[in-house]
Amino acid sequence: MAETTADPIRFSAGPAQLRRSPLEHLAPALATTEHSLGVALREIPFTIQIGLRAAPGSAAHEALAEATGVGLPMRTSEVAGDPGSVAVLWLGPDEFLLIGPEDGQPLLKDLRRGLGDLPGQVVDLSANRTIIAVEGEQARDLLEKGVPVDLHPRSFGPGQAVTTLLGPVPVLLWQTGEQSYRVLPRASFADYTARWLLDAAREHHR
């Protein structure tokens, strides 16, 4: 008789226990950054992210705006909703990213039902990007080392998000509070991005 090699306890725990976030292996390193020293980094894993596409002014756009419950952002850097629950980020004139809590699965069904057969798109992109929270007095200072967009309060503030670069990495950058930002790299860039941020934070953590 062949023995099974799978660990029966872990196996029976189900997919939620088996999954690994893109920055799980860096959690201890990220935990060494501290608010009191200027900037703290941490991963916000397993949010639900849904890609939405619909041409502005179309019936599909209206249907999706209603189904999100918070509308859709209308122009560049706008965010509808709020980071605590459901937020929709503007990626392009006809492209949006909805970010919601881990238990937001029903939203996917609502959006699909809302869109119906209209020309548009609702795609589960939850595993595409992870979120790195950059918080603290020096957060803007640190990001300005690698982001070409003007982050000065005169042109960028809480509740705004842009697609841009952090160093060489294409990221979504979202300011959620006076001193808190979220950086969303694609999962395969997460390790590099987190190490880039850790390195940039070193001068604050000597």
Partner: protein, 99 residues
């Protein structure tokens, strides 16, 4: 570093963009009917303008949208940007827009 005005995102760093060559080069109506020389002409031959040049750009790390631009190839100055499908701005309009 140059700032390029994306028609959808506003002024952004030039590192966020990619160049797409000469604009308004129509795809041949009936490609099968072209001789090799004519096909090569369509594929590879572009104007080499000194002065105002109509060209395509894409905001590749931003909204990922293509747009057209009227740029002075001598000074690198962008005279105007306009969405794909929109009318080509005249040099006078471009001066006024100051993009």
């Amino acid at each position: 570093m140059m700032l390029i005005h994306c028609p959808y995102c506003g002024p952004r760093n030039e590192t966020e963009f990619h160049y797409g060559g000469q604009a308004h080069v129509p795809y041949p109506h009936d490609p099968e009917a072209l001789s090799d020389a004519e096909w090569a002409q369509f594929l590879f031959y572009r104007e080499n303008t000194k002065g105002l040049f109509r060209e395509r750009w894409v905001h590749s790390v931003g909204c990922r949208k293509w747009f057209n631009a009227l740029r002075d190839t001598v000074t690198y100055e962008f005279k105007a940007v306009y969405p794909i499908g929109a009318a080509i701005p005249t040099p006078e309009q471009a001066e006024g827009a100051g993009a």
